[in-house]
């Protein structure tokens, strides 16, 4: 992903470069997703932590409080009733934060997209980092997505939240 020009501040970058390296390493090796599953995908999300897949090998470790979580896995359908809650939870998470849209429902509304009550993709509410197709995606696919986020962190790439904030700043929208 191209780094947004608004964010790159050459001066501060030089100052924090060595620290930034350490930080990227830490973020690339520790990722605490929030236990928030709405639907079918939540079962596969639980499976990811189970003995067969054991995400803890990579330092992925589920936390219950949004304040302490780094990453929100939208595991399931988002409807009009839960949408404000999803947004609230996202806002409660502290930066840096990442969002994984797991499964067709979170990506686009999936099989329920025609319905009168289903949000067509969680990216309409919050910025999404990784999309995971599947209905539900295999646990391996979700693990792959989590590892992708961590790899991107190691490489120091910006999260969707940061890009979103930068775009808003560039547009002069105060948040």
């Amino acid at each position: 992903m191209a780094v947004d020009p608004v964010i790159v501040d050459e001066e501060s970058k030089i100052l924090v470069a060595p620290l930034q390296f350490l930080m990227n390493w830490a973020r690339g090796h520790s990722m605490w997703p929030l236990t928030f599953g709405t639907a079918c995908c939540a079962i596969e999300m639980m499976t990811v932590g189970s003995a067969r897949y054991d995400t803890e090998r990579y330092g992925i470790f589920f936390r219950n409080s949004p304040r302490q979580a780094d990453c929100m896995i939208i595991a399931g359908t988002i409807n009009l009733k839960i949408a404000p809650r999803v947004k609230l939870l996202y806002e409660q998470m502290s930066l840096p934060k990442y969002v994984i849209a797991m499964g067709s429902c979170a990506v686009s509304g999936g099989p329920f997209a025609d319905g009168y009550n289903v949000v067509q993709g969680v990216d309409q509410i919050i910025p999404v980092d990784i999309y995971v197709p599947g209905c539900p995606p295999r646990p391996e696919a979700l693990m792959n997505a989590l590892l992708m986020v961590m790899e991107r962190n190691s490489a120091g790439e910006l999260s969707a939240a940061e890009v979103f904030a930068a775009e808003h700043r560039a547009l002069g929208v105060s948040e």
């Binding site: 930080m23 054991d54 803890e56 330092g59 936390r63 409080s65 302490q68």
Partner: protein
């Protein structure tokens, strides 16, 4: 010069404590993994040894979030207040023979006094967060920690009687031939149970109770403030295991040169750490009223009885002492089993009956 020595001492102790905290964290995740047929951390350093560092560093870099409704000053103080006693306790801890920051003749008394500060930070954290889950967690934690300190202190009475001293190094040296675990098994059992409660570990993890209170008193904490609580938990775990090793497992006593004593002490400490972790992953959690009832109705009377019978045993001889202790252990096991069987009021079968 003295100031420098003190500063150096503090630095060494803090670093030592931090390293051990991190190692305990690693042990927890790794051992828990293996107990559950998993592997635990594998990819960060050798078998995930660097995992806690990565976690801590990441939390350091996270945004520290203070809720709008929170009491900002108290909210900021609480994590610091929690972490301080966890380190402070080491100043009176003897490591090998008389190698101690300050060898206090009421060392054990001071340990408990400092440990009693921890609930204060919890109640501040719970209160200032302005979150109902935090508040409930804080209430639970305070009630629990105060209730369980009593049987814990009472259980140590026997040890103090045997050593005729409250100085930690004297207590350890009194175990040069026989560990207190042999002469005081029941006291060790009580101490261990009290320790689990002090550490907020399963089956007494009501203050955090993830499935009930989300995160208990630390629900609203994020970033480094949360990391402080997290570290405190594991620092306390190391501290209490260290004291359990000193009070009951003979501390640094062992064959070989005196310097090896430090290694013995660490090995014994980690043995206790293992037990704490082991219990955590095998047992469910108590309910809040059962927790209080267990302390006040079972543990405290048992601890008083233990002190009394230990005094009697000391008056008679060591065999009587051991016999009395074993009888108490047996009685305790029987009592717990009885509570389990009688749980629920109705007289009833256990397995479901089958109809076809």
């Amino acid at each position: 010069m003295t100031t420098l020595r003190i500063l150096l001492g503090i630095l060494v102790l803090v670093v030592f404590a931090l390293i051990n905290t991190v190692v305990v964290m690693w042990c927890e995740r790794k051992w828990a993994g293996h107990m559950q047929s998993r592997l635990g951390p594998m990819r960060t350093g050798w078998h995930g040894l660097m995992q806690p560092f990565a976690d801590a560093l990441k939390m350091l870099g996270k945004e520290t979030f203070v809720p709008d409704a929170a009491d900002k000053i108290l909210f900021a103080i609480a994590p610091v207040l929690a972490y301080t006693p966890a380190i402070f306790v080491y100043c009176a801890t003897p490591w090998v023979a008389n190698f101690a920051g300050y060898s206090l003749d009421v060392g054990i008394f001071m340990v408990f006094a400092i440990a009693a500060l921890f609930p204060v930070s919890i109640v501040i954290a719970g209160w200032s967060s302005r979150n109902k889950y935090s508040l409930l967690g804080a209430f639970r934690a305070v009630a629990q920690q105060i209730s369980y300190e009593v049987p814990m202190i009472l259980s140590v009475l026997g040890v103090i009687m045997l050593a005729s001293s409250m100085r930690l190094s004297t207590i350890v040296e009194s175990q040069a031939h026989v560990w207190n675990l042999v002469t005081q098994p029941f006291a060790f059992l009580l101490f261990f149970i009290g320790m689990l409660a002090e550490l907020n570990r399963t089956p007494f993890d009501l203050a955090e109770a993830e499935s009930e209170l989300v995160g208990g008193y630390m629900t609203e904490y994020s970033g480094m403030q949360f990391a402080m609580f997290f570290l405190t938990e594991y620092a306390n775990m190391f501290t209490w295991s260290l004291f359990a090793a000193m009070l009951f497992l003979g501390g640094w006593n062992g064959p070989g040169p005196a310097l090896l004593g430090f290694v013995y002490l660490l090995i014994k400490t980690y043995a206790v750490v293992f037990m704490v972790i082991w219990v955590r992953w095998a047992l469910p959690r108590l309910r809040v009223d059962q927790l209080m009832a267990f302390s006040w109705k079972v543990l405290i009377p048992a601890a008083i009885l233990n002190a009394f019978l230990t005094a009697l045993g000391i008056l008679a001889n060591v065999w009587v002492l051991i016999a009395l202790q074993l009888a108490m252990v047996a009685g305790f096991v029987w009592l717990i089993s009885l509570i389990g069987v009688r749980a629920g009021s109705a007289v009833r079968g256990d397995a479901p009956e089958v109809s076809s």
